[in-house]
């Protein structure tokens, strides 16, 4: 064991852990537990979606068919690419390539902003079409389709709440990755200590995961359900 390794290990090891293995395992496990609470957090909204979709099926079909599938699909691809650059960034931390890690995490941030930008275009479109729940809500063709516009409003309430909460997670994620980039640039992480990189990575992938379900539920599954 080289002397420099001992110094790194002793510097990074907190006194209440037996060794680096235990410290890393505890840190990552804590992050997983947090993600479990996040699953339950989003789970409540998914449950509301299930309940109202089964109750007001035709209204959800009508609302869902106004979504721009191509913007949604592009955003899905953007998030998958961001997850790849994030995963490769964590790998660079493991293999002691700090500069490459910083570059990959910056790419991740760019993808994150691209997602939010495309989402903003969609939000703007919904807003100008009066598809925001509230007193100004309008839905053209609701009567012709034999659907109560009030029920379509429930679809849009859930749409804004679910994608809004997801976008909030994206904004927090971008903030966290920025923090890792700054600390990483200063040389805080290496193969012996990269738990913050790993844990922010887990958070980022989780946010990607939520979108993997939001995309089909909000955009896709009602595309061919006219009747």
């Amino acid at each position: 064991m080289a002397t420099s390794d001992v110094e790194i290990a002793e510097h990074a090891l907190q006194h209440h852990f037996a060794d680096m293995d235990q410290q890393k395992e505890s840190s990552t496990f804590g992050m997983w537990l947090f993600l479990v609470t996040e699953i339950m957090f989003f789970g409540g909204l998914f449950c509301a979606y299930l309940v109202y979709r089964s109750t007001y099926y035709q209204a959800f079909v009508a609302g869902s068919q106004t979504m721009n599938i191509w913007l949604g699909a592009t955003n899905t691809a953007v998030l998958i690419c961001s997850s790849l650059s994030m995963a490769l960034g964590v790998r660079c931390a493991q293999t002691n390539r700090t500069k490459m890690m910083v570059v990959l995490l910056l790419i991740t941030i760019v993808f994150g902003f691209a997602f939010l930008g495309i989402k903003a275009v969609e939000y703007h479109e919904h807003w100008t079409n009066h598809q925001f729940p509230g007193p100004n809500f309008q839905f053209e063709g609701a009567d012709a389709a034999g659907v109560n516009a009030q029920n379509i409003q429930i679809y849009f309430s859930l749409y804004w709440a679910m994608t809004g909460l997801h976008a909030l997670h994206m904004i927090i994620g971008i903030g966290l990755v920025t923090w890792i980039v700054i600390a990483g640039w200063r040389g805080a992480y290496g193969p012996d200590y990269y738990s913050p990189v790993e844990n922010v990575g887990l958070y980022w992938h989780f946010v990607d995961l939520v979108w993997i379900y939001l995309f089909p539920l909000l955009y896709l599954i009602s595309k061919k359900h006219g009747g």
Partner: protein
């Protein structure tokens, strides 16, 4: 203990890129499938593809495949309880029309 021992599994770049490629293909597939009239199977197919994508992300991008048994069991428990809570909620909402209350 040497520093080498507590270095975690480093997954080859090719696996990450491979998983990324599969995820992109599955995204294209699910978008394509949404334009085909399949009746009730549209939702089944879309959610099956989403679940395959989510599983790949969790296992490889999030390293669960290489994680400790404790982490794996925790994740399985989380998914189990999510489905339990969703299922129990739906037993209420989906069965409300089943019983009639004479006089009301």
């Amino acid at each position: 203990m040497s520093v080498e021992e507590h270095r975690q599994h480093v997954i080859p770049t090719s696996i990450y890129v491979g998983i990324w490629a599969i995820l992109m293909v599955l995204t294209a597939t699910t978008v394509f499938a949404s334009f085909i009239e399949l009746g009730d199977w549209n939702i089944v197919l879309a959610l099956t593809i989403a679940t395959i994508k989510a599983t790949l992300v969790v296992l490889f991008f999030m390293h669960l495949y290489y994680s400790s048994k404790l982490t794996k069991v925790t994740m399985i428990a989380a998914i189990f309880f999510l489905f339990l809570l969703l299922a129990l909620s739906m037993t209420d909402y989906l069965t409300r029309g089943w019983l009639t209350n004479p006089g009301h």
